[in-house]
């Protein structure tokens, strides 16, 4: 196809919209970062003086060490359990056809299609009834609801890539199902398992609604602690809230960089096939 040398008005419009979006995004993130380092910032483009005191203050005031410990613990538990439970289910759903299979697939799809608040409120009620909410266990259980289906969805294409004849050969040599899983499938699925683990971790760190509804005072994750400190604005200095937001931001970006080593950006959004490049 012909390529115009001078950009057309449509191209200007498109690139203009993209630029405006990125300028806005940079402003949104930049103003948080700048404010967290500023000593006083009232009526000027940039703060009058710079300081790092807000980070120390945020660390002490918001008890960030326990909050971070809880966040990491919740993520590891959720990722571990959902992989252990999700991968075998994904295997059966990808390989086998059986009566009720499509219905089961729909069942696993539903939690992803519903807004978390819709099922979060009844779920939190049930978890409170059994005394599970308000503790770490309730937060983990609530976060498993979208995570297990997510693992199933992300693992399916990885499983479909494995040639079934490899498994059949193993069975011919006398391997039982658990051997096939441990010796044949697990090593071949390592990239897929890594990808879905890291995606679940990213989603769990960012999952606000379910954690918010089920967390007690000592089981808040970072994003929920951030929300509480923001909605109680005026009690704490805005800068130390921003310092906490930057800590959250850095944690997310580290995870994101890590995630992008294993997956391509579009996979973070949904299950899509690789660009035919």
């Amino acid at each position: 196809m012909r390529r115009a040398i001078v950009a057309s008005p449509a191209a200007w419009l498109v690139w203009g919209a993209v630029t405006i979006f990125f300028v806005g995004l940079a402003g949104v993130i930049g103003s948080v970062v700048v404010n967290s380092f500023g000593l006083r910032w009232f009526d000027s483009w940039l703060p009058e003086a710079w300081t790092t005191q807000w980070y120390g203050q945020a660390w002490d005031e918001f008890d960030l060490l326990p909050v971070l410990t809880v966040t990491i613990l919740v993520c590891l538990l959720v990722a571990g359990i959902s992989v252990l439970v999700g991968v075998p289910a994904a295997y059966v759903l990808a390989r086998r056809s059986f009566p009720g299979g499509r219905l089961l697939y729909l069942l696993f799809l539903l939690p992803i299609l519903m807004p978390p608040i819709t099922y979060g409120i009844p779920l939190a009620t049930v978890l409170y009834k059994y005394g599970l909410a308000g503790h770490l266990s309730g937060v983990v259980l609530a976060n498993l609801v979208p995570s297990i289906p997510f693992v199933i969805l992300t693992m399916t294409p990885f499983i479909e890539q494995i040639d079934p004849t490899v498994e059949r050969a193993a069975r011919m040599c006398g391997a039982r199902t658990r051997h096939v899983f441990g010796r044949i499938l697990a090593p071949l699925l390592i990239p897929g398992i890594l990808a879905s683990t890291i995606l679940v971790v990213v989603r769990t760190v960012g999952m606000f609604e379910l954690t918010f509804l089920t967390a007690g005072p000592d089981s808040q994750t970072l994003v929920v602690a951030l929300f509480y400190s923001m909605s109680a604005a005026g009690i704490r200095a805005q800068q130390s809230v921003d310092a906490m937001a930057v800590i959250y931001c850095v944690m997310m970006l580290v995870l994101l960089v890590l995630a992008l080593r294993f997956v391509n950006p579009t996979q973070l959004v949904a299950r899509v096939k690789e660009d035919p490049e």
Binding site: M1, V14, A17, V18, F22, G24, G27, V28, I29, G30, S31, D43, L84, A89, L93, R96, S97, F98, P99, L104, L107, P111, L113, M114, P115, I117, T118, Y119, I121, P122, L123, A124, T125, V126, L144, V145, T177, G206, F208, E209, F212, L213, V223, F227, M230, S231, D242, A245, C249, M252, L255, L256, L260, N264, P265, T266, L268, V269, A270, D275
Partner: protein
């Protein structure tokens, strides 16, 4: 083992049922115990209010204008935001569907706001669009506005937060659908003399439309569950009192579990209604292979 059980097992295996299906059990137990059972429990709770008949919680939701209007408020925020995100994605993704330098950097940059989530976006918007923020400072120093424009703690704050997190999401999905469409189809049309407009309207758009419907649904689900941003950058007692706030308040502020469950279920029903309308329309479209060549 008797011959009878062997025969039964054999017949079941022929229909695709054998012991391997047991691998599905843990995942199914989790989803049923943590998703289906709470949902059923929620419906049961919503039908047993502290006072009044079976449907009292629903009746009081629909008769109280303060509660009922939250449905409209949510739709007025979520539908335009989801529509804008999808419609803006189409031309931008169309222009960027080919390969160019920095495409990976661009898509990576777009994932950042999705990963950061609505709480951080809300904090940033409060700083950036606030009365003393960079945006208003820019408007007043360039003379575009005399006084700072109020963009936070109202409808627009929530709307911008939905665009910042929702647009990259919609864009990446549309881009992946577009790159799934075989470029040779368009090249064939160009050979037959179709212009730019015809190629887009007659070839690409019909193939893309089902994908757009799916993207709209997923973006709408995101926008429909605005909770943190509606509280933080919105006006949670007025113009952005969305239905999730109504459900949360009923359950956790007034401890009216029947009311909270009823509001959550109404929210789910409204959401599924919109999605099923869109998916129903999608069913009228061509949904087949988007690959060209022999087929």
């Amino acid at each position: 083992m008797s011959t009878a059980t062997v025969a039964v097992r054999h017949r079941l295996a022929e229909r695709g049922i054998d012991r391997q299906l047991l691998l599905l059990v843990p995942a199914t137990v989790f989803v049923v115990a943590l998703f289906i059972y709470p949902f059923a429990y929620g419906i049961a709770v919503s039908l047993q209010p502290a006072e009044g008949g079976m449907l009292a919680a629903y009746r009081s939701f629909f008769t109280d204008a303060y509660q009922r209007d939250t449905i409209m408020t949510t739709l007025v925020i979520a539908l335009p935001a989801a529509l804008l995100n999808v419609l803006a994605s189409v031309p931008i993704a169309y222009r960027m569907r080919g390969r160019f330098r920095g495409k990976r950097v661009l898509t990576t940059a777009l994932v950042v706001p999705i990963t950061l989530g609505t709480v951080l976006t809300a904090e940033g918007l409060l700083n950036f669009l606030g009365p003393a923020g960079w945006f208003n400072r820019f408007l007043t120093t360039t003379g575009l506005a005399d006084a700072p424009v109020r963009l936070t703690n109202n409808y627009w704050g929530v709307f911008f937060s939905l665009v910042i997190t929702g647009f990259p999401f919609a864009f990446l999905l549309v881009l992946s659908y577009l790159s799934g469409i075989d470029p040779s189809l368009e090249r064939a049309a160009a050979t037959l003399g179709a212009g730019w407009r015809q190629r887009f309207l007659r070839i690409t758009l019909p193939l893309l439309a089902p994908g757009l419907a799916t993207t709209f649904c997923l973006t709408f689900v995101l926008a429909f569950s605005v909770f943190p941003s509606a509280i933080l950058v919105g006006d949670p007692s007025g113009s952005t009192r969305v239905i999730s706030i109504a459900a949360y308040e009923a359950a956790y502020v007034r401890y009216d579990y029947a009311g909270g469950a009823a509001a959550a279920i109404i929210m789910g029903v409204v959401e599924l209604l919109v999605i099923s309308i869109v998916l129903g329309l999608r069913g009228l479209l061509y949904t087949g292979s988007t690959a060209g060549g022999k087929g």
